[in-house]
Symmetry: C2
Subunit: 157 residues, 2 copies
């Protein structure tokens, strides 16, 4: 599968919610997302990495419009959840490299990471699929990141 | 966008590589993936969550066939990388809920998480996109997870 980058998408109106240090046991992910889903909130990226000493971070992004509703759920229905720290951050932007065959080419992801590094843009979260590499970055870096990635993948021709 | 689950995909031949405690600064993601991409290794899921006290975990999955080559890269080209712990785990399976509109419906993800929880299947890693919810789980749980998710999304009719 030859990788072909077809475009760079971005969003600037995102809020990141992270429950840090949740227990890594069955039912935790559903207990966090359940009340949010019940409100019909659109959740974008969901990321959870492997646990360390039985705990892990469960992070997701929502549209900033939904921040107040979700914050209220966190402080009411989720107040009894066992976690170390809750982070709610509005300074979140997202850039995605869209194409086909993205997965089979670590080269595409590696080029994207390198191009951002050369421009001193830090990557806060990473999530990939066959058609997309999604990077959560600081909202102030979004414009520059889009330019850098357009250039790297020669989409500005 | 109405969410429609069209199928459940799974893979059992995956190996998980996790650099725990890497510095959260520009260039780190590229320095890890660069040497692996240079060998033409196909990398599947890449996951990185937000950092905690300036460090985070960078995790990815590869096909188990490539384990030895990647392990050698970790022990040679990546030996000078600043990290706390390297995990290489073969007991890794992957199930994906495939469809359209997945992102806009936290309900789909929440139902999947709940169904797995009800069957005592623990979720080790989570990565989502519009067309797919990818869950990394223990290889021993893959068969049961596929059955449970087929039933939950009425794909077994
Ligand atoms: C942390 C959370 O994902 C947990 N492992 C679960 O299965 O729900
Ligand atoms: C950890 C790694 O992703 C780092 N933040 C980078 O931008 O490369």
């Amino acid at each position: 599968e030859k990788a072909v980058v077809s475009g760079i998408a971005f969003q600037k109106d995102q809020t990141k919610i992270s429950f840090q240090g949740v227990k890594d046991s069955p039912g935790i992910a559903s207990s966090i997302l359940g009340p949010i889903a019940a409100e019909g909130i659109e959740v974008d990226v969901i990321i959870q990495n492997i646990s360390n000493e039985g705990r892990t971070d469960f992070t997701f992004t929502i549209s900033s419009i939904d921040r107040d509703v979700v914050e209220k759920i966190c402080n009411t229905q989720l107040q009894d959840l066992d976690f170390n720290n809750l982070i709610i951050d509005n300074n979140v932007g997202k850039v995605s490299i869209v194409g086909v065959g993205m997965r089979s080419h670590a080269g595409i992801a590696s080029r994207a990471f390198q191009a951002l590094a050369n421009n001193n843009i830090n990557i806060s979260m990473i999530s990939t699929s066959e058609i997309k590499i999604t990077l959560v970055i600081n909202i102030d870096d979004v414009n520059n990141a889009v330019k850098v990635l357009h250039h790297e993948f020669e989409l500005d021709k």
